[in-house]
């Protein structure tokens, strides 16, 4: 899931980051009178492959290791840089976004771009490596910020001291709101993820909450309320509505029994599996209903300590999907 936003995040960053954030600011420059053999030493000592040529503060050219090799081939190693440098200089502005530099690298096939300010003064230099490093740093910052917020969420139960700490999420569910269906359960699942609940607990809660949410959407007169109470050891999901009520609870619990009309069945609902699915995912469930008054469904799912120490029976039943529906 997290792979998707990262790709788009890089795309965003290429547009967001200004070049001055990623460029190298301490630019090593040479003068037009520097000889090619002096240039060779400057490149070697600084471990760089090219440098801008500056005369009186003004950018007059750019000279690279390729120019040096050509000079060596021609035995021209003592010539001044002025004679061997490239004078067609492609520059980028410090306040432009990184994408402008990416475009210029692709268009002109150059290895480095001198960076100038509005007045045309040389303020930095940019290579492909600078961009990569800048993007990685920016992503690292974001990643770090996300990690911290997750860490905080995870320790909420340790940070807040009480005899019984719980987090209550309350959602109003509208009747027949099929397009919004599943959004409350998605939010509950996301909260559990932030709180560091194990994936199998997240899955069980997501299934149970989804089926309860869909029941409110499909079967109630006026919708209802979905409440998730998250505690360190237990998660309780309660769905309440004010009608129409279930005439025969035992029958409603039978897998495959459904009162859904045809148009709802055509949408793929009303399989008669909702309550059966909930039962399978929960450690306990309680269904109370009175015709004309309303229904209250309470689902309890126990969190990790219970699962790791023995109660793996219901866990397996909820996850392996081997039994007949």
């Amino acid at each position: 899931m997290s792979q998707v936003p990262q790709i788009t995040r890089i795309q965003e960053l290429i547009y967001e980051l200004p070049i001055e954030r990623v460029m190298t600011k301490d630019v090593i420059t040479v003068s037009p009178d520097t000889t090619m053999s002096e240039l060779k030493e400057i490149l070697r000592i600084n471990r760089i492959s090219g440098t801008p040529v500056v005369e009186g503060g003004r950018l007059v050219g750019i000279v690279s290791i390729e120019d040096l090799i050509k000079a060596l081939e021609k035995g021209d190693i003592h010539a001044p840089v002025r004679e061997r440098m490239a004078t067609r200089i492609i520059t980028v502005q410090a306040n432009e976004s990184v994408v402008e530099a990416v475009k210029k690298f692709a268009q002109y096939k150059v290895g480095r771009l001198p960076v100038v300010n509005e007045r045309g003064d040389l303020v930095g230099i940019l290579t492909g490596g600078d961009i990569t490093r800048g993007l990685l740093e920016a992503i690292g910052l974001d990643y770090h910020a996300e990690e911290i917020s997750r860490y905080r969420a995870r320790h909420i139960f340790e940070d807040i001291v009480s005899d019984r700490t719980g987090l209550i999420l309350r959602y109003r569910i509208k009747a027949r709101d099929f397009s919004g269906g599943g959004s409350a359960s998605s939010k509950i699942k996301r909260a559990l993820d932030r709180l560091g609940a194990p994936p199998m607990i997240q899955r069980r809660v997501a299934i149970a909450a989804y089926e309860a949410e869909m029941n409110l959407i499909i079967h109630t007169d006026n919708g209802g309320e979905l409440i998730a109470e998250i505690q360190p050891e237990v998660i309780r999901i309660v769905a309440t509505d004010n009608g129409p009520g279930i005439p025969d609870i035992e029958q409603a619990m039978q897998p495959g029994f459904s009162t859904a009309p045809n148009w709802i069945r055509e949408l793929g609902f009303g399989a008669g599996m909702g309550l059966a699915n909930i039962k399978k995912c929960s450690d306990s469930m309680k269904l109370e209903s009175q015709v004309g008054v309303g229904t209250r469904l309470e689902i309890v799912i126990k969190v990790s300590p219970v699962i790791s120490s023995g109660n793996s029976g219901s866990e397996a039943a909820a996850s392996d999907g081997k039994e007949k529906p």
Partner: protein
Amino acid sequence: MITLSEIVQKLSLEVAGSEGNLERRIVAGYASDLLSCAMNRAKKDYVWVTLQSHANVVAVASLLDLAAVIITEGNRPDEETLARAQREGVSLLLTPKTTFTVVGELTALGVRGEPEPSS
């Protein structure tokens, strides 16, 4: 394990919804048009084949963290559903073929109904 992009290519599927994660690997497949059955049987990194194309398909895929949903028989999700898929990072793959044909082709590519036991 086969990736989504391989399946998209070999089955000539149209990519709708989120395109970001086509390198995701598929562990197994499931086919049904009943959402509660998918909810019960499909799991993380499964591909789900159905002819349903409404917004709740995205909800189920997102809640289960499915690798993708293949929507068959030329059914097309509406704009709202596509927007939701985009938002939740759910890949919807569209095809005019029937569910039966798609499942057959997936099987031929080595996708099974259960994940292979990890060795």
